[in-house]
């Protein structure tokens, strides 16, 4: 055990430990040598493993992801590291129509053990194309596992699991949780074991227990929800916070159990509001807890606008502690059965 600051060193430590053991793991990305190392998840790897194994690939998501897919067919285990999840848009169909589907469409002949690690999320003035979450899009694709860690401990354990999984996994690491110098940090120093360990996919974590209202959240919004819950406690509202951890597979059981206990659920997400993650969580919650819900599920998300650059505008759209608090408080105050 020792202290780690943020998910970035946690992910790169997991990568390092896996690379040390398995020569088939290599890293491919845009600027993995320098910026990937500084703002992303590949810190220290090129120094240790060299340019032949931690590789700056020629430009383009399409190219990088396609290279990874092709390399996987020869039995390698590519890790693709991109500085921004937004850039997945340029290689969209490599994931959607190939990496995700080849195992199925080949009748199980060809596997795609590709791990993709990208930085996502806003709140630092990154503007529309360097602030998006994107994970809802890929959670929608059959054949991709989706990891959304909120702690360094989880980030390391889930990355280790990803690297052992024979399937494609995308790890969406929120920038404000990376702990990299120069980037605001919403996390905290954590004790993280030095030895490798893995955390199974599909297990949500209850970050705070409560009885009046359940807040279901991912990544950076988990921490914001925990803070909102502390504030709610001052108003005698007992909020339970559930950290989804992996969107695919999704731990419906834990989420539903909490919903059944409290009867009121607020879903929080930093992705665009409509046709994404909050809707899916709501379906599952109402399907499993219908007879226990005392109010409709509510949500706090980005209100279907591109992320604006200017600070007051950005703060108006990215879910923060205040918006979570307000919505949860209002939800907790709703009288049962009146909509």
């Amino acid at each position: 055990m020792r202290t780690l600051r943020g998910i970035a060193p946690a992910v790169s430590e997991a990568l390092d430990q896996e690379m040390a053991n398995n020569p088939e793991v290599f890293v491919l990305g845009d600027d993995v040598s320098h910026w990937g190392a500084r703002f992303g998840f590949t810190g220290g790897l090129q120094e240790k493993y060299g340019r032949g194994r931690v590789i700056d690939a020629p430009a383009g998501g399409q190219n990088v992801l396609g290279l990874a897919a092709g390399a996987a067919t020869t039995g390698l285990r590519p890790v693709v590291a991109l500085i921004s999840g937004d850039f997945l848009g340029t290689g969209f169909d490599q994931i959607y129509d190939h990496i995700a589907t080849v195992n199925y469409l080949s009748g199980g002949q060809v596997r795609m053990p590709v791990t993709i690690v990208v930085a996502v999320g806003g709140g630092y003035g990154g503007g529309a194309q360097l602030s998006q979450m994107r994970y809802g899009l890929f959670a929608h694709a059959p054949g991709v596992k989706v990891v959304v860690p909120s702690t360094a401990y989880d980030a390391k354990g889930l990355t280790t699991t990803a690297l052992a999984d024979p399937n494609p996994v995308i790890i969406f690491g929120h920038r404000l949780l990376t702990g990299q110098p120069g980037v605001p940090f919403e996390g905290e120093d954590e004790d993280v074991p030095e030895d490798p360990y893995s955390i199974p996919f599909g297990l949500a974590a209850v970050r705070r227990e409560g009885s009046d209202v359940t807040i279901v959240a991912t990544a950076a919004t988990v921490r914001r929800s925990v803070r909102a819950a502390a504030h709610l406690a001052e108003y005698d509202i007992s909020a339970e916070v559930v950290d989804v951890r992996t969107l695919v597979p999704l731990d419906t059981d834990t989420i539903v159990a909490s919903a059944r206990k409290t009867g009121r659920v607020l879903v929080v997400d930093e992705d665009y509001q409509s046709f994404g993650t909050t809707g899916e969580l709501t379906f599952r919650i109402q399907a499993g807890a219908f007879d226990r819900l005392t109010a409709p599920v509510r949500r706090v998300a980005v209100p279907d606008v591109p992320i604006p650059y200017s600070e007051p505008l950005e703060q108006a759209v990215i879910p923060n502690v205040e918006r979570i608090f307000d919505e949860a408080r209002s939800l907790a105050g709703v009288s049962a059965r009146a909509s």
Partner: protein, 346 residues
């Protein structure tokens, strides 16, 4: 066009010797081309069963789209003959000839086209998603997406220190996708064991080359990425073989990628059901006179390596194998509907 004068018998013998071709290998190429031709015609026959008089894409024993390569056999066979089993072929939406030339079992190939559980992918992929792990054969139905994948496979061999080669096929239309340029850049930069074979059949769907391509050929683009390139007669299996064999040798020995651009023609529509009308009859007839199978037949005759009788026997054997494969495939069972939900994750 890259038509060359037909060689005299003497010149032909010299050329064949220089290419390192022997009677056995040339006859085997002839056999494979015949196998492909009959296989595709048998598939076509089954495709149209149930689709006449009124064409309905979802009716009959084979549903969906079928892209035949009749006329393009020389490209597939010329390019795949120099390959070893561990080498990879990455193909396109028009893939039967490549698959058979790479040694994919015709029965399992046909069964996949019929959507049978005995198919390469248990019927899940169908014609546009052909995979054969053992024969190291891959395809993609989304034009332009296979280029980086092929390059990645070549990288994989280099990384692992395996002396295998990747042959990546593409149509001339697909090669206008930006991903093609990205693949050339990467393969050249890293000196990957990649051989790019462009099947230039002059059309992408109904669109003629001049409609979407600024220059008439692609090979200069390869050269601008510092990749050597050949322009060959895609209706002449020997021409294709010569260029590809040397390219594959170079790739295997660590000298990096090569582009082989083979001008050819598809005798059928873009897919079955294509009513045509965008190509002139005169053009079609010109190319039919260049049919690569009789052309190789005449050469075998010229070389004194296979007379009428031998060639007829080879053709008959190949035809029987192809027809038998399609028959067995058609009789095989369909997958159980429950399989639909299995195998999303490994």
């Amino acid at each position: 066009m890259v038509w060359r004068p037909e060689p005299s018998a003497e010149d032909l013998a010299v050329r064949i010797a220089e290419a390192g071709l022997e009677q056995g290998s040339l006859l085997e190429m002839y056999r494979t081309m015949c196998l492909i031709r009959v296989f595709e015609e048998a598939i076509r026959d089954r495709y149209w069963a149930g689709k006449t008089p009124d064409f309905n894409i979802a009716a009959g024993p084979i549903r969906g789209l079928i892209h035949l390569a009749v006329g393009q056999e020389a490209v597939a066979v010329g390019a795949c003959t120099p390959l070893r089993e561990a080498d990879v072929v990455v193909s396109t939406h028009r893939a039967h000839h490549h698959a058979l030339a790479k040694g994919v079992d015709p029965t399992r190939l046909a069964a996949e086209i019929f959507g049978k559980v005995t198919g390469l992918s248990r019927g899940k992929g169908g014609e546009l998603h052909l995979f054969d792990r053992n024969r190291r054969f891959l395809t993609s139905g989304v034009v332009g997406t296979s280029f980086a994948q092929a390059t990645g496979a070549a990288f994989g061999f280099q990384y692992r220190g395996e002396r295998n080669v990747v042959v990546m096929f593409t149509g001339e239309g697909a090669a206008n996708h930006g991903a093609f340029a990205e693949a050339l850049n990467t393969a050249s930069l890293w000196q990957l064991p990649l051989v790019v074979v462009i099947e230039d059949n002059l059309y992408a769907g109904s669109v003629p080359k001049w409609g979407t391509q600024a220059v008439n050929q692609h090979y200069q683009r390869a050269q601008s990425h510092n990749i050597p390139a050949y322009l060959v007669d895609g209706m002449d299996v020997i021409d294709v073989y010569e260029a590809t064999e040397s390219a594959i040798g170079r790739a295997r020995d660590g000298y990096g990628p090569t582009v082989v651009e083979a001008v050819c023609y598809r005798y059928r529509g873009h897919f079955e059901g294509d009513p045509g009308g965008y190509r002139s009859r005169q053009e079609e007839e010109t190319w039919e006179r260049l049919d690569p199978i009789p052309r190789l037949g005449r050469r075998l005759e010229q070389l004194g390596w296979a007379g009428d009788e031998t060639r007829t026997a080879v053709r008959r054997m190949a035809a029987e194998e192809a027809i038998q494969a399609v028959k067995v495939a058609e009789k095989s069972p369909l997958p159980n509907p429950a399989e639909a939900l299995q195998g999303v994750f490994a």
